[in-house]
Subunit: 208 residues, 2 copies
């Protein structure tokens, strides 16, 4: 919440950690490396975080909460198409506006301690259900076709999540245009999923 002016030392640490972890990975960054970036001894970081895992958790949990908060801000009374559009826009906004944190979130969540990993998975399942519910409602109302809701949800969220790899806040398209185009494409796929074309049996050989 308080971000703009006079970041606390703790915030400074989290910001720097977000940048370093996102570039070199959690295990590829040492506490000493991190300290150097904010003129602090590595050992002094432990006055603010009891462990490296706690620091990772600050980032990952913060990102998870940002996703939930953005989805919470979507008007609940919207019809499925409009609601899914808003959810997609919100999701992309969080990724785009907090790219280093989003990168750490997606790349390094698996290196959290077991308890926290479980906690995070529960949060993710909840979050995912919001998308699934909207897609199911859209299918029920005829706004979307008769899709496999769980699979369709995974496809939509996959397309959104992987965008942390290529989203460019300073890119050719502004956020609104980008989000609208992506939402349009993903929702088009829900409205009119194509029935499968018989696949020619391509190479049956395993590639390796």
């Amino acid at each position: 919440m308080s971000v703009a002016l006079k970041p606390t030392r703790r915030e400074e640490i989290v910001t720097a950690a977000g940048e370093l972890f996102s570039k070199r990975g959690f295990h590829g960054t040492s506490m000493r490396d991190l300290g150097k970036h904010i003129d602090l001894r590595g050992s002094s970081l432990y006055a603010h975080f009891a462990s490296k895992d706690d620091l990772l958790w600050a980032i990952v949990d913060g990102a998870a909460r940002a996703f939930v908060a953005a989805a919470d801000a979507v008007a609940p009374e919207l019809k499925p198409t409009a609601k899914l559009t808003a959810l997609i826009e919100a999701h992309l906004r969080v990724i785009g506006s907090e790219l280093p944190y989003a990168t750490v979130f997606f790349n390094d969540w698996s290196h959290l301690s077991d308890t926290r990993k479980q906690h995070l998975i529960a949060m993710r399942d909840d979050y995912q259900r919001r998308f699934a519910d909207v897609i199911a409602a859209g299918a029920a109302l005829g706004e979307f076709g008769a899709v496999d809701v769980d699979l369709a949800t995974l496809v939509v969220l996959s397309a959104l999540n992987y965008s942390y790899q290529w989203l460019d806040p300073d890119g050719r398209l502004g956020h609104a245009e980008l989000a609208a185009a992506i939402a349009g494409q993903l929702i088009g796929g829900l409205r009119d999923p194509q029935t499968s074309i018989a696949l020619t049996p391509t190479s049956t050989a395993r590639a390796k």
Copy 2:
């Protein structure tokens, strides 16, 4: 190619590294850890690989080649819709059949040495172009709508790539069904992208 019987020691190492790196990450796995899993001292691994980076490269380059080989096996004369379906199926087949390698490919490619990273990015750009070309051809022929080709390509490949996180070779759906459903959804989005709905200005507050 030679996989079924009597793996060489080198293959054994790569297989074990694929499993460990995919679980704990490249920097989270030590050469000694790896050695233990195949009854070898960590130092003995250096008789087969000159460096840990070489070992990561064996995995990542192998996965990259598998993607290219699978795409090469797609009949070139197919019309855009059928061709894109086949490309999607091929991409998912590589991920699903080599899940640990695919996981390392997507999670740890950024930890390669700079030269190799550059090499890999060039391969990826080539590979990506195959998808972009088919989508552009489809748009030109009217099989697809007038999409932003580069963006539409990123959305399709993002949806496919992130699937390494949840694809389950022993899951509810078989590979063919799964691939057909995913391809149907993604191609539906290219055929009939929805024009954007005016977005209500949801929370303008940054989430963090």
